[in-house]
Symmetry: C2
Subunit: 269 residues, 2 copies
Amino acid sequence: MIVVKIGGTTGVNIEAVIRDVATHVSAGQRMIVVHGGSGETNAISEQLGHPARFVTSPSGYTSRYTDRTTLEIFAMVTTGKINTLLVEQLQRLGVNAFGLSGVDGRLMVARRKDAIRIIDPETGKQRMLRDDYTGKIETVNGDLLRMLLDAGYTPVIAPLALSLEGEALNVDADRAAAMVAGAVGASQLILLSNVPGLLRQFPDEGTLIRHIDRDKVEPSLEFAEGRMKKKVLGASEALQLGVGQVIFADGRVDTPVASALAGNGTIID
Amino acid sequence: MIVVKIGGTTGVNIEAVIRDVATHVSAGQRMIVVHGGSGETNAISEQLGHPARFVTSPSGYTSRYTDRTTLEIFAMVTTGKINTLLVEQLQRLGVNAFGLSGVDGRLMVARRKDAIRIIDPETGKQRMLRDDYTGKIETVNGDLLRMLLDAGYTPVIAPLALSLEGEALNVDADRAAAMVAGAVGASQLILLSNVPGLLRQFPDEGTLIRHIDRDKVEPSLEFAEGRMKKKVLGASEALQLGVGQVIFADGRVDTPVASALAGNGTIID
């Protein structure tokens, strides 16, 4: 079982990823696709007169501020548009893709971070932010995914979860992919983005780190810039959950999945 | 098995419908919910600078003109927003709801009406319209629905289908509900809207037709105004597919499902 996370980042060759996923599924490989959608949510939020806002935590992680209106736009774009179009593309290539988000059948249940500590961009001081519909996934319904896979469907997952109280929440797609990979006991988790992997000196692609020992994931956080921090955290979580190997790989190449499986990227095992 | 279609029409008490569905599911009744979303799609299309357009067929049926941009907005709103929020509301009431659209696992496969005959609103003459992403459902994957129901999930279905060529299509939600009811051998198909049922003299609610014999559905088309025409066609299709009873019922009351099952509305059997 292979879990592939497609970043919504500009530069990732979605068409190539989809074609490569279809090739592997047609060859009998069981796969699950997890996707994001931040970029497109930002564009549509702007058009709908509710521009995206981002907050930074004291430890330097940047995340979307998701009030209820933003949550509904996020659901609309990720689950309704991106997910549907990915499923459509896979179906056209003969893959019986099945789109779902974490709210469907309680696929992903998360703890809502109803109060998060942020750095106020104006004062530079810490303060608490409430009314945020963001969550940290606690459980993934592996039985549901196995049922779909056993029936011949290829799950395509949008990054929404259900809170313990039954509210839809925005969750980080990299960490969702890690939790999904753990729940189904994946042999590989491939995180595709617009860089060749973890770089010792970002953005110098010549400084690609080719291998990280599974015991040395946390220290490699120091090399992670921006979004890459969550990928490293996701990798650490996935390995702890028993995933065989995590690969940070280049989503811009012609056959991103095959290339990652051939050893290109940052391999953590 | 009961299939309930919720209109997106203004006036339908969605919260009451959801509460009533939850009551029935909690009591052990197997149910499937099918919904529309025209109204909200129109509002968001307008906000996104791509206002909805409608066309009328020579026989007087009005439908949405769905170019590719409209299809993507329709998918976004119905599958991403309306479906997700319905699933969220049911989950909050303890129902393990599962949202999907017809593209997921080829739930609904439709024939694309790639050229439709319309009445040109300017000239009043007939002409052909192409590039329309609308379809007529041909098959519903009943095995998929039974698998979900057997596993304890309550399917909530958005009105998208996949064409024979693998394109996402906009389909009529009333007729989708009819085909779904037929595929699972439903005992009842309840079509809720903002009127008490089929009216002999629309909009006089005192002229409610209480019963139509299953052999006399087609003639009752003469009483159907606008959207009601498709409900009558859906009823006819559902009965032909073996559904026990079709009920056109009032979605504005406190317990719309219980009220319909108690015999309020237009009963066709």
